[in-house]
Symmetry: C2
Subunit: 331 residues, 2 copies
């Protein structure tokens, strides 16, 4: 159809004048001899037909695409993807990750009304609070969602509650328990303690949580830091756990797996965050499966990750055919 091609020519002209030439639509209208709304329609056509290609010349560009795709797909309120460090170690983005997460964290901390904020454990959470600059907020309370006592009685060195509370000058509430109790009875006893209950009560009042995401494999933090034994790790692998949130093991689809360990986890249940923002922090391609599980389970409202993990997530989701189309560039 010749008519259509003529229109496309005009559309291309209008698009050029608008996006490259920097003219206003009024100028373009008089130049092309059409009305201003006509120019509007031409520009819409040009975009719709994909005549207009915009490229952002910066490493961030790829991250933004991933961020948008993931945030859209899993209904997140935000999704930050930090770029993979171009030179050097594959894990070089750890620092970026911490800074990005700290920025999100300070968004909450900035406000002056009293805030109750809860934290999970792990290197990522610890890195986040360390990257945070000191801020005077004694009115805020910081509470842990997961025990920081290992089975041998030692304290978890990656617990961020102490560091954060030091930086804000606010109150701190530590959960006096191991992540996984030795038995169901012990678990019930621990959770029944008055001290545990009062900390848990504060945790339930938290308006937002920042947590890490754990892998379930030989390098699992849960195992490496002696929160679970090798036998217990084997059981989780047996049940096809791919990740954990606060010690709760997740299946590929993000369901909490009901097994012997689940019944002994002393952390707060994930369900208390169904209506409040739960923010996960974690990066590296190895964390990909765990993050994906957490996303699929719909547990998260926010995510701070890196390009490696984000790429894994998007590629895997694409591959499984759940969602073939990413968000289209609208301009």
């Amino acid at each position: 159809m010749d008519k259509f091609e003529r229109k496309l020519d005009q559309a291309a002209r209008a698009a050029w004048l608008s996006y490259v030439g920097g003219h206003t639509q009024d100028e373009i209208a008089s130049q092309l001899g059409v009305s201003r709304p006509g120019v509007q329609r031409l520009l819409a056509l040009a975009r719709q037909e994909g005549l207009v290609k915009v490229h952002i010349d910066h490493p961030i560009a790829g991250c933004m695409a991933l961020s948008e795709a993931i945030g859209e797909r899993y209904g997140l309120e935000f999704c930050d993807v930090v770029p993979a460090d171009p030179q050097g170690a594959p894990d070089g983005s750890t620092r970026y990750l911490a800074v990005a997460a700290a920025e999100r964290l300070s968004w909450y901390l900035d406000r002056s009304e009293p805030l109750t904020l809860s934290l999970g454990t792990g290197r990522a959470v610890r890195g986040m609070v360390e990257a945070l600059s000191r801020i005077d907020r004694p009115q805020h309370r910081v509470v842990s969602l997961v025990g920081n006592v290992a089975r041998d009685g030692s304290s978890n060195r990656y617990d961020g509650v102490m560091v954060l509370a030091d930086k804000t000058g606010g109150e701190r509430f530590l959960l006096p328990a191991p992540v996984v109790a030795g038995s169901v009875e012990e678990s019930e006893a621990l959770c029944g303690q008055r001290l545990y209950q009062s900390v848990a009560e504060v945790a339930r009042e938290a308006e937002v949580a920042f947590i890490g995401v754990g892998r379930i494999d030989r390098q699992a933090t849960l195992f490496q830091d002696h929160f679970i034994s090798e036998a217990e790790l084997d059981e989780l692998l047996e049940r096809e756990a791919v990740g954990e949130l606060l010690g709760w093991p997740l299946s590929r689809d993000g369901e909490v797996i009901d097994c012997s360990i689940t019944r002994r986890v002393t952390s707060l249940p994930l369900t208390i965050f169904r209506d409040r923002p739960l923010v996960a922090v974690g990066g590296g391609r190895d964390k990909g499966p765990a993050l994906l599980a957490a996303l699929r389970g719909g547990w998260l409202k926010g995510l701070v990750t890196d390009e490696h993990a984000a790429r894994y997530i998007v590629e895997t989701e694409r591959g499984s055919g759940l969602d073939g189309a990413g968000p289209a560039a609208k301009v």
Copy 2:
């Protein structure tokens, strides 16, 4: 400076969200945690730093760049550049040129108040009026600016006045003269005729003129169609004429060359268009020098040409160092 880099990161993020993601600045502001004017500044920075690259995926794109450069450089009211026909003959854009010129022409013809419009001669003008679709405007007058009688008494087959007047149904005024008289006396006699005078009077009332541009070389229309003899052509070449408008020979700089021929040209003087739009139509790389001369002389207010000639003009002007910088992409 690390601070600047951080800002550039933010700017890239903002640019991506705005141009690729299609979000509003308000959305971006809340997402990035800055105020709306802040986003404004980030976007300005991103553009300024050249982070944003826009590409229009259409053959027209190159033409628009040329068009803008030429229109800007020579203060034209408009400059249409039609694309070179991708496949086939190097002169394949003739048809495009005719259609584009016809569009400009009909812009003037469309109006209902009486219009006096003048035409030059040549294949380009003839093509233009032929490409024009019939339009009922008996109130308009069409007048020729240049004689259509060759030295041997035959009429110029490329005269467009008759064709155009047929299409509009309006009055027509033909200049009863050769382009170049045999002698100064003959020229004065011709121009003194009452008939010539009355047609010239109409021509002087013309609000706009569409004219061709002639080369001055062995293939010159002026020569080929027997308006001038070989000896006269040699004289023009001797005087370094590179083109002609209405038969008036132009130097490289667009000055009308004062020579024996100039004193015998019977066409209307170019100066009558100093304050009214004179539109040149012509394409092909061969016409480049002639067009460039016409532009340099400042005779033109509008130009319809093709990519070949436009490219010649821009490249030559660049090379001569008169204007190194093209219009910057403002986004």
